[in-house]
């Protein structure tokens, strides 16, 4: 008997900390870090900086190049746009609901939006800017100095403040009033009959909500699904250069011969993270194709096929779901209709 009690205790200990798995939550207020309170002026400044091409080395790229409001704050490409003459290697994730994420980037290398914002600016294959130089470029613009003074109390332009303002703007990009939100708030007719069946598959036989749950329909964790590499990308020497560059920066010893994306392993060097990628939000998923970290799937139907087949070859996580054609279709309808909120109204700022 005592042994049984210990066994139960042990089993409890082994349960994942994400005890809320499977539990979906409607949209709610965004968490705001105490170090970077939201103000209207800061959000407006952040929006200007977000679309300012001064943030890139050659003045051709801004954050909105790859996070385009007209493309679901992504860029609609399999792999993200790039600094001229280079190529990126991963898909541009949507910024919608990014405020709810515990980790940023597909490999989770940043823990806050403030930290995240500076990476692409410095990245040789993205905005390729020198941050010391960028600070001076922004400081030469009187309108910016006035805005920094209003927002931060003095006119000093630092990379940290630039990142804070951009992060504040990004925290305003929230998916609201999706049929799922209304449904979870008690409106039983918010989902169409087909979408409702899809919802039941999502939370049941499809096992989607084991990882896609909470308000953001994600688990803030990393999983090894063995999504196939895109053979076209493996052949492109520019992408090889990018992959090896990132691996080198993260002190991966065999960076010169690296021929695939190691995912989170680059950050943790933990063997279990080899080819692990972050669970993405599913909010507004209909408007943010293509899908997966390398954009290999153009449609949700393809993504559903991938999961239905039990994921990529030899993956340790997924098992075949045996969904019927009808069930797959219902799931797709739920993802498309149920998770698409009211359009985010957006007015492009005037860059000083």
């Amino acid at each position: 008997m005592r042994k049984a009690a210990w066994l139960i205790f042990f089993v409890l200990l082994c349960l994942p900390v994400t005890a809320a798995a499977g539990h979906l939550e409607p949209a709610r207020d965004v968490p705001i870090p105490v170090q970077n309170p939201q103000t209207a002026a800061k959000v407006e400044l952040g929006k200007k900086l977000f679309f300012d091409r001064r943030l890139s080395g050659d003045g051709t790229m801004n954050c909105g190049t790859c996070h385009d409001p007209g493309q679901g704050f992504s860029d609609g490409l399999d792999i993200s746009l790039n600094y001229p003459t280079t190529r990126n290697w991963r898909n541009s994730p949507t910024l919608i609901n990014v405020a709810f994420q515990k980790y940023l980037f597909h490999d989770g290398r940043a823990a806050t939006l403030e930290e995240q914002a500076l990476f692409p600016m410095m990245s040789a294959f993205e905005m390729n800017q020198n941050l010391d130089f960028m600070e001076e470029e922004i400081r030469t613009v009187p309108e910016y100095v006035a805005e920094f003074t209003e927002v931060f109390g003095d006119g000093d332009v630092t990379r940290e403040r630039i990142a804070m303002a951009i992060a504040a703007f990004e925290r305003t990009l929230i998916s609201l009033d999706a049929p799922l939100d209304r449904f979870l708030a008690g409106d039983s007719s918010a989902l169409s009959p087909q979408a409702l069946k899809g919802y039941e598959i999502f939370t049941g036989k499809g096992k989607c909500s084991e990882c896609h749950f909470g308000v953001n329909l994600a688990d803030d964790r990393f999983h090894v699904l063995h999504v196939q590499e895109n053979p076209e990308h493996l052949k492109d020497p520019r992408i090889a250069a990018t992959r090896r560059f990132v691996a080198k920066v993260y002190h991966f010893e065999e960076y010169r011969t690296l021929a695939e994306d190691p995912g989170r392993y680059l950050i943790t060097k933990d063997r279990k993270d080899w080819k692990a990628f972050k669970t993405p939000t599913l909010r507004e998923i209909a408007g943010t194709a293509p899908y997966m970290h390398n954009g290999i799937y153009a449609t949700l139907a393809e993504v559903i096929e991938f999961f239905n087949a039990g994921g990529g070859m030899g993956n340790p996580v997924l098992k075949p779901l045996r969904l019927t054609s009808l069930e797959k279709e219902e799931l797709r309808v739920f993802l498309e209709q149920g998770l698409t909120g009211a359009p985010i109204t957006f007015v492009h700022p005037k860059i000083p």
């Binding site: 091409r53 050659d58 003045g59 051709t60 790229m61 190049t65 385009d68 007209g70 860029d75 609609g76 490409l77 746009l81 001229p84 003459t85 492109d236 153009a298």
Partner: protein, 142 residues
Amino acid sequence: MAAGPTVKQILRTYPGKIRLVIKNYPYKYRDFARIAAEASLAARDQGKYWEMHDILITRSPKLDRASLISYAGELGLDVKTFTESIDNSRHAKEIDRDLQLAESIDLYNTPTFYINGRQVVGERPFDYFKKIIDEQLNKTAR
């Protein structure tokens, strides 16, 4: 990789339904971008724009003057006329006009497409264009 094959596929798919207008946007930080734009227009004068376009893409970044002249030879162009054209920057005005147009509409990325005014930045697969074009054609038909 470049958008050329996709553009050609679009033209083949919609014969007589699409008008393609190409504007030059030589990247300001590349040594040979400007002379390569001149070369493509000099080839156009002799009826071989696409042939030169394709060779520029496949041989890039080898786009110095001597290479361009040798490509003109490969394509069977009148090399003397071609060389005079690029040496005298014969199409400078046209290229400058295109650059000004791009800057006036806050355009910085190549390739960028406009399909009846709808902006598409970057290379895209054929199906991406097809969806937009079909929408536009349906709208026009109505």
